[in-house]
Symmetry: C2
Subunit: 217 residues, 2 copies
């Protein structure tokens, strides 16, 4: 069975997104900057249908992570930025257009039931209304021997950390200060998360940390 992996970029003050997210600025003020390091990598450009891009150690790690992932779980806010009934949500079909970059099954945590949404290129969004354990069970079944990636946002990650089901935490620490927004570890206490450092790599200013989760939940 694959592992359950959290992979997320954070600011030095611990935010995964900045304040005041909107349709124009889904990651909040300064939040987009947390992801700049990845946009130049071949590993990011290829699944987004673009050629070229940087190679090297960090690109290898990201490509390896993508290859190892069989299913993704995300929160409703990451999927569409919205909340409440789907018919009122301007991004009810997600941020990623007709050919999303996942190319595997994606499970979206929501309070609002709907039919699965099948996109081009192997991405199907399944909407899970009965909680993180159910989402994880479905994602594990879909992933087979591969890993399940918990990709965000902060609230979804916190739910999985508190449930004690995460095997590995990958943090990309970006040397910026956001000052406000959604903090990765809000509401997580010493009893929720014990970590062992697995590897640390720095590239173009960003520090890529991998932790094994020793015991949890």
């Amino acid at each position: 069975m694959g592992r359950v992996v959290v992979d997320i970029s954070i600011s030095l003050d611990g935010y995964v997104a900045g304040p005041n997210p909107s349709l124009d600025d889904p990651l909040g003020r300064g939040g987009e900057g947390l992801h700049e390091w990845v946009f130049g990598l071949r590993a990011w450009r290829e699944p987004h249908g673009r050629s070229g891009g940087e190679t090297g150690l960090v690109n290898d790690l990201v490509e390896e992570g993508i290859r190892a992932t069989g299913a993704t779980v995300m929160g409703r806010k990451m999927f569409s930025g919205g909340e409440g009934p789907w018919e009122d949500d301007p991004k009810a079909n997600g941020w990623w257009g007709d050919d999303p970059p996942f190319h595997h099954p994606v499970f979206v945590l929501t309070h609002h039931a709907r039919e699965p949404l099948t996109k081009d290129g192997g991405t199907t969004f399944t909407f899970v209304t009965d909680g993180v354990e159910s989402a994880l069970e479905q994602a594990r079944a879909a992933a087979g021997d591969k890993d399940v990636l918990i990709s965000g946002g902060a609230e979804a990650i916190q739910q999985f950390l508190r449930a004690g089901v995460v095997d590995e935490l990958r943090i990309h620490l970006v040397p910026v200060v956001l000052g406000a927004g959604a903090r990765l570890l809000d509401g997580i206490g010493p009893g929720d998360l014990e970590l062992e450092t697995d590897s640390v790599i720095e590239s173009t200013g960003v520090t890529h940390l991998r932790f094994r989760v020793r015991s949890a939940g």
Copy 2:
């Protein structure tokens, strides 16, 4: 002129001390664990009057930092854990006994004036009641060509960061979660701190990050 350096250990969730600090537990619950990495180093043992200890790259960096430091600035809470008039403070002479490990002038930010306190081994504590700029001016004069170290706690560091006078930020990122306590970057916004990564070293699970402060204040 030397530089102004902040050097501090933090948890993965950004705390420099845990909740409920007390005389028995000055760094709060879990806070002591942030400093375990340093206790085994020769660089720590020597100024504390102990022999032996680990050598190597991280020890070299810490020793180099100590040699380069000509004066230290700290907040009242770091000095004694107390607040209010000195006569009511059980640690009014500091935590470190007759021979503190600094061996250079130390400037303590406080609202309560008192005469300087001279200890063995070259450590004199001078109490500064007229703010961070004054403390820094006095510390620079005492340090000569050497660096001024801002050693804590969080509130004192935040005052210096907001004043725009810090040249280098050294963070020792310890893979623990404290969940509550004093957070290093509370109240610091994007305009207060712009960073460039200088170096990143991992050793025995702790990640040692050095940032140049690009512009501030």
